[in-house]
């Protein structure tokens, strides 16, 4: 299945860095279980949050 054009569009158009990062991490494939898709986004959110914390700490 090709990736949805609409998902690509919103990724290209949005100025929101978090949203863009989430869209990049997101796998729209119907072959991927919903739970797995959720887990991937959770992991991405955690990674971004942790990155920010580390940045704050080092500053």
């Amino acid at each position: 299945m090709p990736k949805s054009k609409l998902l690509e569009d919103i990724k290209r158009q949005t100025k929101d860095g978090l949203l863009r990062a989430l869209l990049e991490a997101y796998d729209p494939s119907p072959d991927t279980a919903q739970e797995q898709k959720v887990s991937m986004l959770v992991a991405k959110l955690e990674e971004i949050f942790r990155g920010r914390l580390n940045e704050t700490t080092s500053n």
Binding site: L6, D16, P30, D31, Q34, V38, I48, T56
Partner: protein, 820 residues
């Protein structure tokens, strides 16, 4: 993309079978329930998407129940089920697409995992043949999908319509993000969870240092960390006297202060005399007077009672006599019940009665004595209950040592203070003991009441109760007053120099708050990050709303157009869609008024609405599909909608949109009506025979006698009817040749979709077909052909000219045994 043929292999109800061929613009499948029709539609859906909506929905209920349901139960181990289709693309190229299930190590099919190939070359998707499509464009429209649409909740219908508008992946992303957010909130990382616990404790700490407003804000997860800690810093300076300007130095100062406070903790409260001692002591003299009064009454009652007992018999003896008189046998009144001698003379009875009468006075004085004793005890209990107001803790040597450490210069005064405390405590205890002794003694006295001699002895011991209580009370009162005076002089010093647990708690709370600054910052950051996620969600929702508007601008007209075809001339009808964040407003109109469609439209109209939403998705300009498969599309429709679907929607798809239409139905009426409507057109009519263990049995459904019957009726009619009869004779020729080929040779004619004339040479090869039959059928084809093309100047044959051809074909049907 058009579908030329499909071959499911050990998929669902199919085992090993010949491909199902689609070589006409309309293909009708008729079959009863459970004949395998849906296996065919699901095979096509699975081939295109790798899953079916039915299975996906089933998995939501129970993955276990649906596990393996794509695989035929006779599939041998080591054999991979597949679905293969031959398709023709817009550029005319023909390709073979196959989706094959993966096998596990044991050789069993993994029905949720598959591989795809095009022209026997493995591919990840169909992009190598420039085929791109979305779930919304799925050309398989199944009844359960339409039924779901009718009965679903608005939020679910939102998803379906979003899917139909091509927005499903956006909506799914939004939903996935929402679930990710919730999961993250419910299962935070260890440090965030730990920080939350800490901050919950800090909220209590804030309250203990009187930062209640801030505590409330934190409770509401409203953090402004820098400003909040500025307030905390102010509070730290206020409480500790620190001049610190940073949290770190404030923490240091507060810690120092906390240590000092801990070292000065001495709770003086337990040693403090009653602050209302004066008032309490004023209540004592009246109480003493009452005790004296009670004592006087007691003594009088005691004297009366003990006096009465001196002139009377022992109580037990009196009781013995009284009992004896009740036991006298009335039949023999002179016999003593104890010695059984005739000793009870009237004189003796009179004597006994006189003595018992004297005993009545004794009883009365005894009751009076007991009453006064009880009153006396009650009054003493009342006095005893006042004692806690005079009591306080005894200062131990350890307490004195602790105080001496804090007040080194006041050691002598402290010793005097302690001595006064101890004396007071001791004297109050003595008072309590005296009262307790008095109560116990009086209670003890009561137990001897039936033994007057002992009462007389015991009464002596309680004779000095008022004196002893009065003395103890006087001593305690004097000492209490002295202790109270010395305590009052010490009190300001204590208040100034001593600390208590509450003060220490404040500093401990401040230390905690200052020390856990990082936890608050972490929670605030997590909270801010949650807000960012919310903002991302909002942006996606906005984007979806925008896309809905765009999609609806073009699609709404189409949806309404299809709905108009399906449901013309109704008073209540669907009138449009409005975008929304979690549901679409489906509008209906009735007699000029707008209302909610879901609640107002009939089941039949909702079925039409479902179809009107699904069909334009498949026929959308960006959809690559030029075929559409309906699996039981008209279940919920009434006759008018049913007729509109067959008579308007399917022709519109075939003629205007150049679609290849495949209809699967369990309604013979629907299948036959569809065949009749398209009788002169290009169609194939298949029948699913009863499902076998080896899979569905699909045969071409030709009933020549039915066709002949209709032709005979038309041949008797007007010009239009006769022209149709002639055209149908041509189609009948084709069907006779197809049917003869299938039945006599056992397989379909290879040019089954060609022109009638092109079939004749193949017909000639069929066993039992004579050269005369070949000549005759060619002649009838040549004769009937113009009715199909109606060239200028074409004259419709008269009934008398048509009948010979009818009879010729009827004879041919009979001779070839094709009647049934």
């Amino acid at each position: 993309m058009k579908l030329l043929q499909i071959k499911p292999f050990y998929f669902r109800a199919f085992c090993v079978s010949a491909p199902v061929v689609f070589n006409t613009s309309l293909t009708i499948f008729y079959g009863g329930n459970g004949a395998g029709k849906s296996s065919l539609s699901e095979a096509l859906e699975w081939l295109l998407y790798g899953y079916t909506k039915r299975r996906r929905k089933g998995d939501e209920y129970s993955k276990n129940e649906y596990k393996g349901s794509y695989v035929h139960n006779a599939c041998p181990t080591g054999t991979a089920p597949y679905v293969e289709a031959q398709v023709k693309l817009a550029d005319g190229s023909i390709h073979l697409i196959r989706r094959t299930m993966k096998l596990n190590k044991a050789g069993l099919a993994l029905d949720q995992e598959s591989t795809l190939s095009v022209d026997n070359t493995p591919v990840a998707d169909l992009s190598p043949i420039n085929l791109a499509y979305t779930e919304a464009q799925c050309p398989v429209i199944v009844q359960h999908g339409i039924q779901d649409f009718i009965h679903m909740r608005p939020i679910d219908r939102y998803r379906v319509i979003s899917e139909a508008l091509g927005l499903s992946e956006l909506v799914e992303f939004k939903d996935t993000l929402e679930r990710a957010k919730i999961q993250r909130r419910n299962y935070p990382s260890t440090e965030v969870a730990q920080a939350k616990k800490i901050v919950a404790q800090l909220i209590a700490n804030l309250k203990s240092v009187d930062l209640v407003t801030l505590a409330t804000r934190w409770q509401l997860e409203n953090y402004s960390v820098d400003a909040d800690y500025s307030l905390i810093l102010d509070k730290a300076r206020e409480l500790s006297g620190s001049q610190a300007t940073t949290l770190e130095s404030a923490l240091k100062d507060v810690r120092t202060r906390q240590t000092e406070e801990i070292s000065r903790v001495f709770d003086i409260a337990p040693f403090q005399p009653n602050p209302h001692l004066g008032t309490t002591l004023e209540q004592i003299p009246p109480l003493v007077a009452q005790i004296q009064e009670a004592d006087a009454k007691f003594k009088m009652a005691d004297a009366t009672y003990t006096g009465a007992t001196a002139s009377s018999y022992k109580v037990a003896q009196l009781e013995f006599w009284k009992q004896g008189l009740t036991l006298v046998d009335t039949a023999n009144p002179e016999q003593c019940p104890f010695c059984e001698e005739s000793t009870i003379t009237p004189n003796r009875i009179r004597g006994l009665e006189a003595r018992l009468e004297a005993d009545d006075d004794l009883s009365k004085s005894r009751r009076s004595f007991l009453r006064e004793t009880d009153s006396y005890i009650a009054l003493l209990s009342q006095a005893e209950q006042k004692l806690p107001q005079l009591e306080f803790d005894f200062i131990s040597d350890k307490n004195v040592s602790a105080l001496e450490k804090l007040f080194e210069s006041d050691r002598e005064r402290l010793q005097a203070f302690a001595a006064e405390n101890r004396q007071s405590v001791q004297l109050v205890r003595s008072l309590r003991e005296t009262i307790t002794w008095a109560k116990d003694s009086l209670s003890n006295l009561k137990t001897f009441v039936t033994q007057p001699n002992k009462v007389i002895e015991a009464a002596v011991t309680v004779a000095d109760i008022p004196t002893r209580i009065g003395k103890a009370l006087a001593e305690a009162t004097t000492s209490l007053k002295q202790y109270n005076e010395i305590f009052v002089t010490f009190k300001p010093i204590f208040e100034r120099e001593l600390s208590d647990e509450a003060t220490v708690t404040k500093f401990t709370s401040l230390v905690d708050i200052l020390n856990n600054h990082a936890s608050v910052r972490l929670i605030a950051d997590a909270k801010a990050f949650d807000s960012e996620i919310l903002e991302a969600q909002r942006l996606v929702e906005e984007h979806i709303l925008d896309q809905q508007k765009v999609a609806l601008t073009s699609r709404e007209t189409e949806i309404l157009s299809w709905y108009g075809l399906l449901s013309p001339n109704t008073d209540v009808k669907f009138s449009g869609l409005e975008p929304g964040r979690s549901e679409y407003s489906l509008k209906a109109e009735a007699f000029g008024k707008t209302m909610n469609a879901a609640a107002s439209l009939s089941q039949s109209q909702l079925n039409c609405l479902g179809l009107s939403i699904y069909i334009p998705s498949v026929s959308a300009p960006d959809s690559p599909f030029k075929f559409i498969l309906f699996d039981d599309p008209v279940q919920a429709m009434d006759d008018d909608h049913h007729e509109s679907f067959l008579l308007k929607v399917i022709p519109e798809l075939m003629n205007k949109h150049d679609f290849e239409v495949i209809v699967l139905t369990h309604l013979k009426e629907t299948a036959d009506r569809l065949r009749d409507i398209n009788f002169t057109g290009n169609f194939t009519y298949y029948r699913f025979d009863k499902l076998q263990a080896t899979g569905p049995v699909i045969v071409e459904h030709i009933i020549l006698s039915d066709d002949m019957k209709k032709i005979r009726q038309l041949a008797q009619g007007n010009d239009d009817n006769r022209e149709m009869a002639v055209d149908r004779i041509r189609v009948l020729c084709e069907n006779i040749m197809r049917e003869a080929h299938l039945r006599k040779k056992g397989f379909r004619m290879s040019v089954a979709s060609g022109t009638a004339s092109s079939m004749v040479p193949h017909f000639a090869q069929v066993p039992s077909v004579t050269p005369a039959m070949v000549t005759e059928i060619q002649d009838t084809i040549n004769w009937s052909n113009p009715a199909h093309h109606t060239p200028p100047g074409y004259v419709v044959p008269a009934t008398t000219n048509i009948n010979p051809h009818i009879e010729r074909l009827q004879k041919m049907i009979n001779d070839l045994g094709l009647k049934k």
